[in-house]
Symmetry: C2
Subunit: 163 residues, 2 copies
DNA sequence: CACCATTTAGTTGTACCCAATTGAATTGTG
DNA sequence: CACAATTCAATTGGGTACAACTAAATGGTG
């Protein structure tokens, strides 16, 4: 059984090409544009955007193992390990092997890492403001993107088999 | 003169934090999810998603200099140079210094590169289908993302001065 | 013609991102 | 208890992405 194809029959291959190109370009561009604004805003904090995402989770959750961090952010250890080392080198976090489970590494904030939160408080307002979107538009866009992500993740799992 | 802040006064800092987190995370996730689907679909063509974007432009435009390619894709030479070398190593493109202007490098398709288009024709349909979005939804999302990108690009230019 | 700013690719260094592998620790089963 | 399967972090390798820099070529301007 193939997955549902919600597109009308009468759409030409050229039309698909245009649509595909447009949506991918737009998404790619938006992602990089966001990154660009974050680069500017976070430069004064001395961290990158993915590092900021990690800090957000730590500020919210306190300490937690690399595994959990990866689940929250959907990143694997190949991405997180070097990133966390850089955060440790910057003095913002500490990494310690768990006593209970020697396989696990606990990531926790240092004094400095905790203190950084104060300076980071102004970031979201600046970012949201930079979008020129109002609260409802942002929520709406977020919902659409989440729906898109769910569909794509689903397809990535099923497609290799469907070929 | 500061840029317009379209947000109501009564929104708390915590609310901004949530919004910021959600929209950034969702965009990040969507971008990577798209990349994941492309990875799966393009594996049989032996190219990556950014390489596919380059091929799309070449299939459409014929030959063109690295500079123009970068303008179309919003990528600089630091990204394009190694990418194009890989496409050349794969036998899909050739790079030749322009006779008119020795600074410029023309990128053109090989026989093999041109031939690949046939096998790539099925890609857009599969990608669009994977989104489960219909044509209107895609166009609408594209428009929102483009609006977002324009606003963010604008902000990235002005923000350093605004501090 | 000589000088200088500009244009264009390429290189280097830093940082993500993912696939695949490694190695240590833990858990489940007989 | 022994041993296989699993879990978890780290590492390695290939591929973007961008900033800063280099180097060659071009195009004025005096």
């Amino acid at each position: 059984m193939t997955s549902a194809i919600p597109l009308p029959e009468g759409v030409s291959e050229e039309e698909f090409l245009r649509l595909d190109r447009q949506i991918c370009f737009s998404l790619h561009a938006a992602s990089r544009a966001f990154n660009g604004v974050y680069r500017v805003v976070l430069k004064e904090l001395g961290i990158t955007y993915p590092q900021y995402l990690v800090m957000l989770v730590l500020w919210e959750q306190g300490e937690l193992p690399v595994k959990k961090l990866g689940e929250y952010l959907r990143l694997d250890s190949g991405t997180l390990s070097p990133l966390l080392k850089r955060l440790e080198a910057a003095g913002l976090v500490r990494r310690e092997r768990s006593a209970r489970d020697e396989r696990s590494v606990e990531v926790r904030l240092t004094e400095e890492g905790t203190a950084l939160r104060e300076r980071a408080l102004a970031v979201p307002r600046r970012i949201v403001s930079a979008t020129t979107f109002d609260v409802d538009e942002i929520r709406d866009l977020r919902d659409r993107l989440d729906r898109l992500t769910a569909a794509l993740d689903e397809a990535a799992l099923q497609d290799p088999a469907a070929h």
